[in-house]
Amino acid sequence: MDETDLFIIERMTEDARVSFRKIAKELGVSPDTIISRYKTLQEKGVIRGSTVVINPKKIGYHGMAVFMIDASPTHILATEATPTESSLILEKLIQMRNIILSTKTVGDHDLLAIGVARDFEHLITMGADIAKIPGVKDLRVSFWVEKAELCPKYFII
């Protein structure tokens, strides 16, 4: 990665729809250079994709919650090929509505999911739905409302 790449990344972080011609003009290079650089960055996995950032509050989601999940032990000797309990839970989690991030974790819990909730009732329903996933042993939740103390302009999750 060089200065040009970083410039492209910087501009596109601010606005993913910015025209390549505009970036090219600002850098004094040809639009083709920018396009090929962008493609390379994608191929190398530096840029994983692009998305639109929604303000949840504006569409009636007043809270966010983090669910910390413990998976029950399987008592099966896992090999590389057998899916583990937490992988199965993860698969279910990412299909759940309003869960916008999920990951396996190392530490206090086995999995973590972040979701958006319309209100208390919704939050509790979401918790109950997660608890219903087979293999979930325990569930803990923390939730917050209104704005966060520290949050990047484009917080995807």
């Binding site: 990665m1 990344i9 596109m12 972080t13 601010e14 606005d15 993913a16 729809r17 190398k44 996995g45 530096v46 840029i47 994983r48 994709g49 692009s50 998305t51 639109v52 950032v53 929604i54 303000n55 949840p56 504006k58 569409i59 009636g60 966010m64 919650a65 983090v66 910390m68 993860l90 990412i94 759940m96 509505r97 309003n98 869960i99 916008i100 991030l101 999920s102 990951t103 396996k104 974790t105 190392v106 530490g107 206090d108 819990h109 973590l112 958006v116 803990r140 939740v141 923390s142 939730f143 917050w144 966060a148 103390e149 520290l150 949050c151 990047p152 302009k153 484009y154 995807i156 999750i157």
Partner: protein, 201 residues
Amino acid sequence: MSDNVIKILGMELVKNDIIRFLSQNSITYRVIIRIILGQTGYHMPPKIKIDKIDIAIIRALQKDARANFASIARDCGVSTDTISKRFRRMKKAGIIRGTTILLNPKSFGYDCVASLGIDVSYPHLREVIELIRRIPEVVFCATSMGSYDIFCIAVLKNVGRLSQVKDLVKGHPMVREVTTSIWVNEILLCPENFEFEHLNR
């Protein structure tokens, strides 16, 4: 009721009279003025109705922010102009904050993403928040209810640095406990799980 007349506690009052009456420069009065005149900085967001087309735009852009407006228009059976107008309208209303690219932290030498759950002595919450705000690696921090008092997400160079950050936070006299969870490689972002359909009623 004219613009200059407001209704407080069932009484119709003329704004200018109240200002004259309350402008005693005491802080309380100033606050009251601000509240009754609606200058608290709080205002209701403009309510705009979201319909099928708006949802189609958001759904397309969630997958690829550079999606072609012309092709979204074709799918919806409307003009490209309509799509860009709708996009601008949602941006103006604050529903859409913007568009951005998703980067891989590893490409920039940040190998460790972790969340920190912090328990504090609640009356001293702000002091701990101030400490956390000064840690550059913490990208998100919210005061929360439930399991933890503060929930943070940090993007760090390595696990060693995570340990340093944990020790730093734990060093604060008002912190009771810090629990860390390291996020394993496959962090799955699924903004498309966001439900909008209930809005289209």
